[in-house]
Symmetry: C3
Subunit: 265 residues, 3 copies
């Protein structure tokens, strides 16, 4: 698989750069200068600075919806300028470029057969490589060359000792599934690490989060009044605490890391 | 008209998703996976949560400037997960996809001959349709298939009972036009619902907003000193209260809904 | 040079429009309506309102990384509606469109042979030109027509009296280079106007900024502990004050305009 020549127009970006500076535009310029036919799509640049959890979550929500052979870039890189490596991974039918800091943890968890390189071939970097902006100097040009059809294996050495990261899985003990809030979105929806697979609504006795209690898993917002809290399966197939037309995190005072318990019948 | 086959590369997005989460990127992935030649343009994702007024206003400012056959998506959808319908409209030379919540009110007002479908043909949805993210599961794939040339009528049933919405028109009584502030932009410019057509500057006696009074309609900022308030015709051809190089909403303490009166001579 | 016919797909945007309103989307619509093959890239729309310094800095960070013949638009335009001119410049292998307010100062400083037009040919404007949104009515359509191959000289008259702007250069007196903080980025990195060329790290005795002192120029963040302040050459080749994994501006209370001194040995 690694020797296969690929050609992909699609490159996505997930960073903590924000949108105030020129960083994102600069990376796009570098890519388009190498591959003018590349199509670059922003996943988000609003990852809180250095928040690897939020970045891995955003990427995991998005990547599977893109065309095969898409190249997904993540630049959330507190280690820039240290000797941390930059990874190029082939997993499923997609490519991923990110620092070796476990920001790809959900990708690796979902694709045990991922092939991972340490990106070392300076031929594909910008000629002058800064100590502080590897997104521009290494990641963007490597993605652009990959999108032009440079073979995957040309970019570096295959490695096995990359950081796979820890995924916080819920635990089950007798009739209780224990998880936690792993992400709070823009709307205040509170997403847990308890997946749909682990739940079957007909078996639920109650769902507890902090001092709030839900007697069942709702099937839609429509079952509730405006302002009413509910537990539902999120668009990403995880248990989610929401408030109809409201901000659950604010109204219920829920924070990332809060414990969630599902009691089964 | 409805049976005509179209093909449009251009799809615009207007949402209240914000740019912090992956929602917008996900919708783009879905579209590009179905039509890799689609060109997706953001109108804005900064609509305040559930603010149908702001969304309809943003769309109205923008859509007429896009190429013919463009497909304009609006996802501001407090009713997601209820039985509210999703509409596909052909109006003028453009297409529109939005929940049936009157967010297209300016489109319908401007195109009495709009043809509107209730989007029901699940063949064009994503295979698994969530209860909470119809932008991803229904709207994005329908837009992508439409952009590929699937005939308009294939997406659902023609309906007439969609929500047309109420447009707050100014009233006229003798020599007084009464309107209100309908939008305040990023610069603090305060836009009224009084259109240029209703005004002829030579006839204006005075313009009143709350405790401020303007004796005439200005033709350009250049007629004023920096910091001076003025009344002008906005880029969208409505009466606007502005401050040269300043934030009128802040300086004059103007809020959405504030009454505006134009006294004619 | 000026008579050469060009054709560029790439148009970049740098504005103070923010992302809440439809302004940016509208400009893109105008461009794509004229040249459906244009590829539009955002540098940033987060320039503080009317901040010409920040806009010129963002553009300078970015433009050289884009493909040759790219057209770079800057709309930060406190003078809209006055008689300030709109400039179209050819400099190096790029084009620039901006108000005549010195926002292109770094471009002009870097390209003494820039050819500059005052954009006057209304044939390439939108038919109805507002007093308040020249980005939409003049700049966007001119850029689009230029990208289609309309000859540069067709857009207006060559001028020499455009505003070149002042670039705040550091001064050198004996063994002291005196400069200042010219930009603070999203991460709190504090960038000075002292360029790499003026520094050779082996000669530095100390670097002073307000009450903080650095004994050397670091080569990478990796030489420092998390939270430690350092002086480094930025990705844009200027002296920068940073904090490893931290926000230097906040931690060290550095503001734009703060004096920086480099004492040489």
């Amino acid at each position: 698989m690694e020797h296969q020549k690929t050609k992909s127009r699609f490159i996505t970006l997930t960073t903590d750069f924000g949108l105030r500076d020129a960083f994102v535009g600069v990376m796009k310029g570098v890519i388009l200068n190498i591959n003018p036919a590349a199509v670059i799509v922003d996943i988000t640049h609003g990852i809180p600075q250095g928040d690897l959890d939020a970045a891995s979550f955003a990427l995991d929500q998005a990547y599977a919806f893109f065309p095969p052979e898409s190249i997904h870039i993540v630049v959330v890189d507190p280690g820039v300028g240290t000797d941390r490596r930059i990874l190029l991974a082939r997993a499923g039918n997609s490519f991923f470029l990110a620092p070796d800091n476990a920001v790809l943890k959900y990708v690796f968890a979902g694709h045990q057969d991922a092939v991972v390189l340490s990106v070392t071939n300076r031929y594909y970097f910008l000629p002058h490589t800064s100590q502080t902006f590897h997104g521009r100097d290494i990641v963007a040009p490597v993605a652009a060359h990959l999108s032009l059809g440079v073979p995957f294996v040309d970019f570096g050495q295959k490695i096995d000792d990359y950081l796979r990261g820890d995924i916080l899985l819920p635990t089950r003990r007798n009739k209780t599934i224990s998880g936690e809030i792993v992400y709070i979105d823009h709307f205040g929806n509170c997403i847990t690490n308890i997946s749909k697979k682990e739940l079957k609504s007909e078996q639920i006795e109650e769902i507890n989060i902090e001092k709030f209690q839900f007697e069942r898993l709702s099937h839609s917002y429509a079952e509730h009044e405006v302002g009413e809290p509910l537990a539902i399966v999120s668009s990403h197939d995880h248990l989610e605490i929401a408030v109809r037309d409201g901000n659950a995190a604010q109204i219920l005072n829920i924070k990332k890391g809060d414990r969630v318990e599902v009691i089964l019948q």
